[in-house]
Amino acid sequence: MLRYASKRIVLAIPVFLGVVLLTFLMLHLVPGDPVKAMFIQNGGATQSEIDQLRHQLGLDKPLPVQFWDYLINVLHGNLGTSIRTNEGVGAMLLHNFPPTLQLTLAGMGLAIVLGFGFGILAAVNRGRWLDSVSLIFTLSGVSIPSFWLGLLLIYAFSVRLRWIPIVGGPGWEELILPALALGLQASAIIARLVRSSLLEVLSEQYVTTARAKGVANRHVLVRHALRNALLPVITIIGLQFGGLLSGTVIIETVFARQGIGRILVDALQARDFPTAQGAVLFIAVVYVFVNLLVDILYGVIDPRITAATG
């Protein structure tokens, strides 16, 4: 198991380097002079101020040298300084990560509960009305944009019904609608995958054998079928986590929540490139880390995988 985990960790390194390279290139892919663009948005500057920032960002050096410096800084945890607030980007992101993580986990939790619930219902009731209900749910979930859903939820539950505040309420109350808007699409994908994966497992001979031996259907489902059906679902959940994390960019803006998503949007609008770069890199690294955990979890759930690949 240890060998398996080590292998996954080593394989994550080139992925991480690729992410660093892409976020580094982000600044250079912007049309026009990004340094001038930063200043235009922030009130203008003299040529000496522009030159000073260019030197400060290392943009007057050759590109490979710039990348090397950037990589070394990132490895030392130095993501630069916000040109708007003069605050360290790393500190700003760490401070704003907890609310984003809270929202992402809440969305993920909701997605798993709804996804598994509808997926299992559909699988055990294949061909029946519950299966149709699940299909309608999944189609709705993948079709409705989260931005629109968020506004609709606000209008229905906050404005018309006044059940849930938009801002200023207790922490958990303010989390309900954003988590729902964020997690619904992921729950639809999970539901369909749980259904198809479970159906495949339920048709296996060992399941038939268990039933023939008189094991109750619920025990067949939970102890024998579900665990084997989990593997592809866990992969998807890992991928969905990244999707949810990046989805907070929209949801935090719609629901006026603090977090890395809001910081990223504001930084892009203000051409605060150090902050924008830092936020993108941060999200990407978390995503890589979560998928690494998923890979390791794979080995825990199914020992055959570690035996085969470890």
Binding site: I40, N125, F157
Partner: protein, 602 residues
């Protein structure tokens, strides 16, 4: 779906008729989003139309052109004395007797973009927030346009306009207990112009290159000295951007000042700021030196004041409607949403700044021909434009580069002779004479080229540009809209790679605003070919020693500008605030932003 023959039917599963399936499929369509939709439908919440009132403003200072805030405006504004710009009603109407208590939450799209340290911030709204913590030397009476005492009880201006000597009040105290005196004022201004201090709005408001130095004559007397006259300086002292901070606090907090703390002498004390989220202030119980323009003296009524960031327009309006916030800055399209909501009233505040202008590039064909520019003016029906949904009836038809609320006595009659009236028939004749013949496709051509304009704008401005395309098409012109973000728009205007653009700037600085766009060396003077007469008049206005002189030259400049027809002076814009009917006595400063010193909750 056929049952899988390899799967043993679950005895717990129930069978289902087709009819029941259909019924339940319909019923199960009440998924969460659909349930939300049903919950959202239904009767209106109330039958009564809300009260609409007009708040004050006059000319004021601040943000950038286009629809987003950000960049600065510069220089001086309406000076003291007769002839100053004035607007109706400095505060909204109230009912009942003012009583202390309560928390008011005001929602802006963004309250603070960078810092509350106004010496280095370029963001307008944060100046308006900071003004509740920092008092100013003077306060503009937005009803009369007069500059009135605040921290300064009186002042003298030298005959040459180069020296302003202020006598300071003795009662004010900084929130940290340190003394407010001439040395503190000097320290503030010295910091603003110090070489290591980032150049921001405050630097320009203090006079920029015209400013020389400040002297603390004695504890209660401070003198500001200029190299050249700056008639707008006195009015700009009323802006939160030139509010007076505690030098002790600034030194103590260093780079963190404006984020971890803000200390002034104001009616409210800083509690906390969470960037991109909220700013919380609490009442200063010892306050007893309010501006003479206020309705009352003594401590503020509100216990607590919260400025909350809600970027998304729809969410901000929803937060107002459900009572999460008591006031919110709205956009035009949201006014209709509050019709029938009797707990909310809409306040319209004339925006200080330039008229919103569809400016044309006179260095580039087809708008290098003045007759084409005139014809485009004749094609635009300004009254109809303002009635369209993107305006929702808010605003007034434009006449000159400055709107009526920015000029003395709101009187632009002397410039009306240069205003080009809506006359599409004459527009067609003018274009015919200029050689632009109507094609079979409804677009005019000349020498093989179409009468087409590349209109460069910010994406958010498209709703207020598209109708122009419709109007121009009726006279045979075509509009190609090229949109992007703020940087895209500014880059194109600075490089002159546009035929038309939507432009304006907000601020309380008439001569500076005209200079910005129409002086040949101005930063955004990309529309007209250089005109020595206009330059002379603008220079005379900017350097005028008195306000009367400034206005005389400005009106001359505007007349000359209008005769060159730089574009369409389309509409005079307004800010829109929504407020709970419980909120009483909302004051508005010269910038068009709420000032809550007199405000109380009914």
């Amino acid at each position: 779906m056929d049952p899988d023959p390899n799967v043993t039917p679950d005895p717990l599963a129930t069978s289902m008729s087709r009819r029941r399936l259909l019924r339940l499929a319909v019923g199960s369509s009440a998924m969460i989003p659909l349930a939300a939709l049903l919950a959202a439908c239904g009767g209106s919440s109330s039958p009564t139309t809300p009260t609409t009132s007009t708040g004050s403003t006059g000319a004021s200072t601040s943000t950038t052109s286009g629809s987003t805030g950000g960049a600065t405006t510069t220089s001086a504004a309406t000076p003291a004395g007769a002839g100053s710009a004035a607007t109706p009603a400095a505060t909204t109407a109230s009912s009942g007797t003012a009583k202390p208590g309560g928390t008011l939450t005001m929602a802006y799209a963004q309250s603070v973009a960078d810092t509350l340290n106004q010496h280095i911030s370029n963001f307008t709204v944060s100046r308006m927030v900071a003004r509740h913590v920092l008092d100013c030397l003077v306060s503009v009476d937005t009803t009369s346009g007069q500059v009135k005492p605040w921290l300064a009880s009186k002042w003298d201006i030298s005959a040459d306009g180069l020296q302003y000597t202020f006598t300071l009040r003795t009662e004010p105290k900084f929130h940290d207990g340190t003394a407010f005196n001439a040395a503190a004022v000097k320290a503030n201004f010295d910091y603003t112009v110090a070489p290591n201090t980032k150049r921001a709005w405050a630097y320009g408001a203090l006079g920029g290159d015209k400013y020389d130095h400040t002297e603390a004559v004695d504890d209660q007397t401070v003198r500001v000295v200029f190299k050249k006259p700056d008639v707008g300086f006195l009015s700009l002292l009323s802006d939160g951007g030139l509010g007076i901070d505690s030098p002790t606090a600034m030194q103590k907090l260093g780079d963190q000042y404006g984020q971890k703390g803000l200390v002034g002498t104001g009616a409210f004390k800083f509690v906390e700021m969470v960037l991109n989220d909220h700013v919380t202030l609490q009442r200063n119980p010892d306050y007893n030196w309010g501006p003479s323009t206020a309705k009352h003296q003594g401590a503020a009524y509100l216990d607590q004041l919260i400025f909350r960031d809600i970027t998304e327009n729809a969410t901000r309006a929803a937060a107002l409607q459900n009572g999460n916030v008591q006031m919110a800055r709205l956009v035009n399209s949201q006014v209709a949403q509050f019709k029938g909501v009797n707990t909310i009233r809409i306040i319209q505040i004339p925006k200080a700044g330039t008229t919103r202008m569809y400016l044309m590039n006179s260095a580039k064909s087809p708008s290098d021909d003045i007759n084409v520019r005139k014809a485009m003016n004749m094609a635009v029906d300004k009254k109809t434009l303002i009635g369209l949904p993107a305006w929702a009836g808010i605003g007034n038809p434009g006449i000159a580069p400055l709107p009526s609320n920015m000029v003395p006595n709101h009187d632009l009659s002397s410039l009306k002779q240069y205003d080009i009236a809506y006359d599409p028939t004459q527009a067609g004749q003018l274009l015919d004479q200029a050689g632009w013949k109507m094609g079979s496709d409804g677009i005019r051509t000349k020498n093989g080229a179409q009468l087409a304009f590349d209109f460069v704008c910010q994406t958010a401005d498209i709703p207020q540009v598209e109708p122009l395309g419709g109007m121009l098409s009726k006279v045979g012109a075509k509009l190609n809209i090229k949109s992007g973000d703020f940087n895209f728009w500014i880059n194109n205007t600075l490089k002159r790679t546009f035929d038309m653009t939507l432009m304006s700037d907000s601020g309380y600085n008439p001569s500076g605003l005209v200079e910005e766009f129409f002086y040949s060396k101005g930063p955004y003077a990309d529309y007209l070919t250089a005109n020595p007469e206009i330059d002379t008049a603008v220079e005379a206005a900017v350097n005028a020693p008195t306000t009367d002189e400034m206005w005389k030259n400005l009106f001359t400049a505007m007349g000359l500008i209008m005769q060159q027809v730089p574009g369409v002076m389309a509409w005079e814009d307004m800010y829109i605030d929504g407020a709970s009917t419980k909120v009483q006595d909302v004051g508005y400063n010269e910038d068009g932003f709420a000032f809550f010193y007199d405000t109380w909750l009914g």
